[in-house]
């Protein structure tokens, strides 16, 4: 079994060349050992210095922060803690009260409302500890997704993409097709623009070209998808091709990259925002098309026929969507 020697297996002693190879790898192994020892020494020193470790930090809405330590904390006066948002590390948020709880837990009460989806930083003076307080990946993904789809629905609360919205929401079929195409293109352009913005524009300090680059990206992606779809899936292209061309003139498709760039969002947030706003737009289109099919049969006063009544309908939907505004997913 073991007699066959494959080229990528380490050489066994006794074979020609093994001795020289061992001699060559010896200094490398030695330096590795030295490095390891140094790292261990540093770790040991740190362990001696900070025997109390911060095991977890979690935001408890509306204004508390729950901490769990490995040993009881000695100083629990508010001055011992410094709490800031990740965006503004120079402006501390006032710590108004500190309370000990069972099992080496400490609960901080802060002077302002906290959000379960924000990034914060906690620094402790004694023992010297610091920690980034951030939501888990899934929490972040779901928060951004749902808030962009429902709370900040692009159509009903940010009023973007209205031209297309009123244009294609007359029939349920078209609205579904547009919604699906739109969500797909949105995710695609969102990710491409995010990559261009964070890997090219920021590095070269060319952020003033954002508008030009993003609209170019959108036009390019749409053209690319159109060509690809026509060559590979002619049936799909026949059904969805017409919507693709409409997408270029939609403001939402441009607003998503701009919002991402404004908030310096990470890849995951960008993805969630693109998916959420595409889904929110599709939802709005579907709801609106259902309602408009009914107004066809209703008796509408003459001056209100056509667009005005559609606007009034959109107003009613916006009113309903206001109900989402207090929604918080992480209490």
């Amino acid at each position: 079994m073991a007699s066959r020697l494959r080229p990528w297996m380490p050489c066994r002693p006794g074979r020609p060349g093994a001795a020289t190879r061992a001699a060559r790898t010896a200094p490398a192994a030695l330096s590795l050992a030295v490095l390891l020892a140094a790292a261990l020494a540093v770790l040991a020193a740190a362990g001696v210095q900070a025997d109390t470790r911060l095991l977890s930090a979690r935001v408890v809405t509306p204004d508390r922060l729950a901490l769990r330590f490995s040993a009881p904390l000695e100083r629990t006066d508010p001055a011992n803690f410094r709490f800031t948002t990740a965006q503004a590390p120079d402006v501390p948020i006032a710590v108004t009260a500190v309370r000990r709880a069972a099992g080496d837990r400490v609960v901080l009460t802060l002077g302002q409302k906290l959000s379960g989806s924000e990034h914060y930083r906690l620094e402790i003076a004694d023992p010297p500890l610091s920690r980034d307080v951030r939501p888990s990946t899934w929490a972040l993904l779901i928060t951004v997704l749902l808030s962009s789809a429902l709370i900040n629905n692009f159509v009903f609360t940010r009023y973007l993409g209205l031209c297309i919205f009123f244009g294609v929401s007359k029939k349920r079929d078209t609205s579904l097709g547009m919604g699906a195409t739109f969500t797909m293109v949105m995710v695609f352009t969102g990710m491409v623009s995010w990559a261009i913005d964070s890997f090219v524009l920021r590095l070269l300090h060319l952020s003033f070209l954002q508008i030009l680059v993003f609209i170019g990206t959108v036009a390019f992606v749409v053209q690319f998808l159109d060509t690809m779809l026509r060559k590979t899936h002619p049936g799909l292209h026949k059904r969805f091709g017409i919507y693709l061309m409409l997408i270029t003139t939609n403001c939402i498709i441009l607003a998503v990259p701009l919002l991402n760039a404004q908030g310096s969002a990470g890849p995951l947030e960008s993805f969630a925002l693109a998916l959420g706003s595409g889904g929110g737009f599709a939802l709005a289109l579907f709801l609106m098309s259902c309602a408009r099919e009914r107004t066809e049969l209703a008796r509408v006063p003459a001056p209100f026929q056509g667009l005005p009544i559609a606007f009034a309908l959109a107003g009613l939907f916006a009113l309903a969507f206001m109900g989402f505004s207090g929604l918080d997913f992480f209490r």
Binding site: F156, T157, R158, Y159, L160, G161, L162, C163, I164, F166, G167, V168, F208, L209, Q210, I211, L212, I215, G216, A219, L246, T249, N250, C251, I253, L254, A255, L258, L259, Q262, P301, A302, P303, F304, Q305, G306, L307, P308, I309, A310, F311, A312, A314, G315, L316, A318, L319, M322
Partner: protein, 219 residues
């Protein structure tokens, strides 16, 4: 429906401007670029800022397209128009950010989104790419003024009803109808104003309206 493209004597500057403000008002009649019309019009000042930005972008891109249209191959004209608009929008965006930072903080995103406004590119396609420099300039001016007019009217209505003030000057105590300052109120204001325009049109011409009520909106 574009009256200015009919054969006959060239339209005068006055006709073109009035056409943009009333007969083909971008918001109320053509129903184009509605997003900013609802989004930023909670106060007169916001509407004015965005209106001025659109006016400048429209005039400048109309003039630019007229000047360079001989060099643009017809098959790539839409991307080229988009780039021309994007250049002017970037310039106006940075100018407004520098000179009116407080207002810009509220409407900044929408200023950037002027680049995707249907009204601008449709005027370039319909008018500026076919007409000489001077009429293009006045057409751009008329359309921009029509847009500015619409935004200021909607802004005034919503500010008056929602916040009880006009251009920042308090007129009524408290907040009479806060509803109109909310997102939903924007949609209702436009519905009411559009219906008013249709009603006036029916009264004056005696025929069924063609503009906002028809299916001409969209791209």
């Amino acid at each position: 429906m574009s009256t200015v493209l009919l054969p006959g004597p060239a339209p005068t500057a006055r006709q073109l401007i009035l056409n943009g403000i009333f007969a083909e008002n971008p918001v109320f009649r053509l129903a184009l670029s509605l997003c900013p019309a609802v989004a930023v019009t909670t106060t007169v000042a916001n509407g004015l800022l965005l209106g001025v930005a659109v006016l400048l972008v429209q005039v400048l891109s109309s003039v630019t397209v007229t000047l360079v249209r001989g060099f643009i191959h017809p098959r790539v004209r839409i991307p080229v128009y988009t780039i021309i608009i994007a250049v002017w929008v970037s310039a106006i965006d940075m100018t407004l950010a520098a000179f009116t930072p407080a207002l810009y903080a509220q409407v900044g995103l929408y200023v950037k989104l002027i680049v995707a406004f249907a009204i601008i590119i449709s005027r370039l396609e319909v008018f500026a790419s076919r007409q000489p420099l001077v009429p293009s300039f006045f057409d751009g001016l008329g359309m921009g003024l029509g847009f500015l007019f619409a935004l200021v009217v909607i802004g005034a209505m919503r500010e008056l009803l929602g916040a009880g003030s006009l251009a920042g000057i308090p007129l009524a105590p408290g907040k009479p109808l806060l509803f109109f300052a909310l997102p939903a109120g924007g949609f209702f204001s436009i519905a009411l104003l559009m219906a008013l325009f249709n009603w006036v049109e029916r009264r004056t011409t005696g025929k069924s309206s063609a503009g906002g009520a028809g299916g001409t909106h969209g791209v």
